[in-house]
Symmetry: C2
Subunit: 470 residues, 2 copies
């Protein structure tokens, strides 16, 4: 295991020198590919590991990337590409000729093939499938028709299953003939009826302890299964409740179609959690990689920013309505961004708590009233504390208690509004089937900004004679 | 598998009625516990599932909670508590008497015991350990001394390992004697030397195909292992590079101390990703659950908000320095929050991209210059687009091209500043061993707010004669 932490004492000069490794790996890859040294390339890629290779390949020109991937044997290229996030793997595969892409894909497991095919543009996908073995292509097409986060989308279709009328000895002999495939032969062997319906499961270790002449039906145990359209959260719940490492997936009629491994469910959940974080930060564009083309990167980011600037202009228009009040008490301008930003923070805390409680399953989308009452009580306490703090600062600065009153009350009330919105909006969005991570933030910020500006400026307008005295 | 999605057509009235299920489960739990009906309680808990039970128990008073947990058999209570996030599990356990807690803990796997013990307050942990079997307590104390996200902290200490001079037949006989423990007997049996050092691994399926008289040393293969202090990201890299379901953990001297499963690494990564999201939103306080006491909840949230208000006041003080300019051109007050908020959004996108690239391992913390150059180019394009947009709005509104110039240039320049900070700060924090998710946001917001206010107001001060004409 490489230790990638850098020493703590590190000067600017060293930093300059240390960018060398990435450039070196990039140059070595290019040179080995140019020399058509497939074997040297394979050994070099193994020696630097997947992350380093990915990082180096991203630094190559498109032509050099293609040269490196086609110089590697299809098997080695597949080993490397399988480890990348799907979207980036598809980007690399999409740049290759359909026949090169097909031969790399053919070295992968069916599930990885399906993931990649569904990430490719429709016409490239079609071209690649046309180059694959017809049977494999049909299998991949079937797998890629499942939603990515459903049991069908997460399962492997390579299942070790034997008919229930075979004996243990026959199955052991069959197993012995199989190539070594540690990733497909797990702890369980499934048993099916003559018609392909799942009828039970045999643990590998109970075969170890059984007579070779027993029929599989005799030692198999009844077996839970999930439907191919089970959702990720249903699978999460299933593995929460059952200690199994894997569960068979069945279609209509209990036909065995694949097997979902616990680890793939955990990985999908990890990906989703990370994506939730990115969505909340950048909404569109946060899954970019900096070696993607500049215009693609800036375009995806700016599309979300443009929507956001419109929302910002809407909320700032409240300030425009109160220009007279503001020019009479210019000190208020200092407090406008403070109140809007602090309310945003309070509201975001409530959003984060609701998202977590929804994920843990301890609140249901319809429990809006309960969440709202809980949030109002926290909001009142924190609003009063923050309001007093800000009022104190305002009074110390201008010596006018009415200024303190205006900004303190505005912040306190707006904190209650912000946590009310922040706590309940994710539930409402979830209830209507929308992704709370994407929309909660902008809705929250726009409304709390408008309310914050309105509260400060309308309170100030009411108390204007007192404010202009100081 | 329960379908928890509510029907789409749902009125206010139905919402009121539908809060009933949670209250019903809570009341049933209380009644069964009051009647000391351990068996009925167990069956009810199984029937409603872990999430529903957790949700119902959280709605009980502290006394009723204790009654429910102690009425359940220790084994059933352990089954339930194992499924909760550690922090909440510890909260429940911490409320029980030491002996009740110890008997529930004794039903768990060693790793879950250690996780819980390290979450408990020091004195409760000591009291619970004193009630446990001395050998088990010593084991738990040793396990809980490891960092939670290290190999030692993630491993199970129950390993199936046999000496290399035993025969396959002897091992099979030993395995036959063991109780059925699907969670500890995986695909691998480890082989150790006389001194307890790991010497190899035997796949269960190769035992199936071997003669019973072969010694284990004969069929064992060399075996990779990780040190007990390996970090989570090292483990992630290990499982990325190797297709194993588990890896043995060794102490100094290659002594076998446990085994880390791929699924536990994936689960730890998922937890970390979710925590990153919450940290970025609420920093302190976002892992609350709304049934925790009010003052605890509001206190944890307000401690982070108080820090934030100080940062906000610092950045808003820039506005205070330019009060004269602002009162001369009051329209600028409308644009201050827009520029500060938009720059924050642009900067957060860059933070999210850097966090992802760090997590994928395709940038190293020292590649600050490369990231900065990439961000500056995106920042220039997006800054110009957003600046022109905002300048257009300002000109349309006031008909003064100089106002447009001021706010447009300020937004464009501040966008470049924001993406520069947002892209590089996570790398710098990571380099110094700090968690980028916690500190990137506040640093970014404070600096971009100050720069944004300063840019607008200082540009306006320079162009004041032109601005006051309109």
């Amino acid at each position: 295991m490489k230790q990638q932490v850098q020493p703590e004492v590190q000067t600017e000069v060293q930093t300059e020198v240390q960018t060398a490794p990435e450039q070196k790996s990039r140059d070595v890859l290019r040179l080995l590919a140019a020399a058509d040294d497939a074997d040297g390339l394979r050994r070099y890629v193994k020696s630097i590991g997947v992350n380093e290779t990915f990082s180096a390949i991203l630094r190559l020109s498109v032509d050099d990337r293609e040269k490196v991937l086609t110089t590697l044997s299809a098997e080695d290229a597949a080993d490397f590409i399988e480890e990348l996030p799907n979207q980036h793997a598809a980007e690399m595969i999409g740049k290759l000729s359909a026949s090169d892409a097909a031969s790399i894909l053919s070295e992968m497991e069916s599930q990885d093939q399906a993931d990649l095919i569904s990430e490719l543009k429709a016409e490239s996908a079609k071209a690649v499938l046309a180059e694959m073995h017809p049977e494999a292509a049909a299998n991949v097409e079937r797998l890629s028709s499942y939603a990515a986060d459903s049991a069908g989308g997460l399962m492997m279709s390579e299942v070790i299953a034997y008919r229930d009328d075979m004996t243990v000895g026959e199955v052991l002999a069959k197993l012995g003939e199989r190539e070594s495939q540690p990733s497909t032969l797990g702890m369980y062997i499934y048993v099916t009826s003559r018609s392909g319906k799942i009828s039970g499961v045999v643990e590998l270790r109970s075969m170890v302890l059984s007579s070779h002449s027993s029929p599989m039906a005799f030692i198999s145990k009844p077996c839970l299964s999930v439907r191919d359209d089970a959702t990720l959260s249903e699978l999460d719940e299933f593995f929460d409740q059952h200690p199994f490492l894997a569960v068979p997936v069945v279609g209509a009629d209990r036909q065995l179609v694949g097997v979902v491994h616990r680890q793939h469910v955990a990985e999908a959940l990890a990906d989703n959690a990370a994506a939730t974080y990115r969505k909340s930060q950048g909404i569109i564009g946060a899954d970019e990689i900096r070696s993607q083309p500049l215009l693609l990167r800036s375009g995806r980011r700016v599309s979300w920013l443009s929507l956001n600037i419109v929302l910002n202009i809407i909320s700032a228009s409240v300030i425009a309505m109160y220009q007279d009040t503001l020019s009479a008490v210019i000190a208020l301008a200092v407090f406008l961004p403070i109140v809007s930003d602090m309310s945003g923070c309070s509201g975001n805390q409530a959003v984060a708590v609701s998202m977590r409680e929804l994920a843990l399953g301890i609140i249901k989308p319809y429990e809006i009233m309960r969440v709202w009452l809980k949030e109002v009580s926290v909001g009142c306490i924190n609003g009063v504390i923050l309001g007093l703090l800000l009022a104190g600062v305002a009074m110390l600065w201008k010596g006018n208690p009415y200024l303190g009153l205006v900004v303190g009350v505005a912040l306190a009330v707006n904190t209650v509004i912000a946590v009310s919105i922040g706590g309940t909006v994710p539930l409402i969005l979830k209830h209507f089937g929308k992704d709370p991570a994407v929309a909660s933030g902008p809705i929250l910020t726009t409304v709390t900004d408008m309310c914050g500006f309105f509260l400060i400026l309308s309170l100030a307008a009411m108390l204007l004679p007192h404010l202009t005295v100081g």
